[in-house]
């Protein structure tokens, strides 16, 4: 076993163990662990099976096979980052939606409480509006 194979194997095993441990401690959701597990598994497979790595590196035109290993690992890391970008976009969107609803509800609640506190004949206590033309729509 060459030294680089050994180092690659250790790195892949360390990554897999880390991911499993993080999931076990509930610090990493299964959903986000999957891509990392796949990354570790592929690197482990290629490190443990030099023939496959060699065939792959010849195929893509890389002369020194261990470089191909890092190219593959790098590719997976890019994939993980892209995945995170989509997750962040989704969270941002939901965050804004929540802020909007909270802000609207807060104002509506304040008005409702204000109307309830005011005497019934006070001009401050608005008469509830009749629903308009039966058009009751929900904001997605």
């Amino acid at each position: 076993m060459t030294r680089i194979t050994f180092v690659s194997l250790c790195a892949a095993i360390w990554l897999l163990l880390m991911v499993v441990e993080l999931v076990r401690r509930r610090r990493l959701g299964e959903r986000y662990a999957l891509l990392w597990l796949l990354t570790g598994a592929v690197v482990l497979l290629l490190a443990a099976w030099p023939a496959a790595l060699e065939r792959f590196s010849t195929f893509v035109g890389i002369e020194y096979p261990p470089t191909a290993l890092f190219v593959v690992a790098g590719g997976f890391v890019l994939l993980v980052l892209l995945h995170y970008a989509t997750v962040i976009s989704g969270l941002t969107e939901r965050n804004v939606r929540l802020a909007q609803r909270v802000a609207i509800l807060e104002e509506r609640l304040m008005r409702l409480e204000g109307a309830a506190d005011a005497p019934p004949d006070s001009p401050e206590a608005d008469v509830p509006d009749a629903p308009r033309a039966g058009r009751h729509v929900d904001v997605a």
């Binding site: 802000a103 104002e107 409702l112 033309a133 009751h136 929900d138």
Partner: protein, 247 residues
Amino acid sequence: MPDSRISTARHGDCLAIVPALDEQDSVASVVREVGSLPGIDVLVVDDGSTDETAAVARAAGATVVSMPFNVGIGGAVQTGYMWALQHGYSVAIQVDGDGQHPAIEVQRLVDAVRNGDADLVIGSRFLGSGSYRAPFARRVGIRLFASVLSAILRVRVTDTTSGFRAAGRDAIGLFARAYPHDYPEVETVLVAHRAGLRVTELPVEMRIRQGGVSSITPFRAGYYMVKVLLAILVETLRRPQASIAEP
């Protein structure tokens, strides 16, 4: 969920949406000026101001929705459209909190929607007799967006970056669901047009801002250009949004 029966906030048929971020010096006069127009209620969306914007606006007679943190102009304006939808307004008009948009022009845009001239009416500084002269760089940017958009929509658009616009029911429903977060002006025209809404421009005069400073810096202008061009490109690859909110 939103139920118009418990709404106690609607008096008129039109909601003026005033997004405001640290505009305590100008927001009160905007609220009073626009609120004095017939049938128009004023909603100030306070987008995380650190000054007295919310209190000043409330004292001037506006309904105020305060965002828990800054969500950007798009998110703030969309909150206004959500409010308009929930309360059954048939017209909504965006008016800047810095006093750029005169009441008489607000009236004209709102009337255009009330008359059914279009679903989305944009106040353009470049149509007709407008005296507005934007700084050179900004003029180039606006011109660029206008020609890109005009080419895509096959409709002449002159002022795509104008945040002064009035929307009818269908546009309110559309914007309450889908509205870009930052620099939304150009994209919304495209989204509205592709949803089958009728979009037109009216020539308007605008004033010099009464308080605050422009949010556009050179760096942001660059981001603005790239972001909006990307958004336009991607939007044309999407299916059009349905204009009516699902029941």
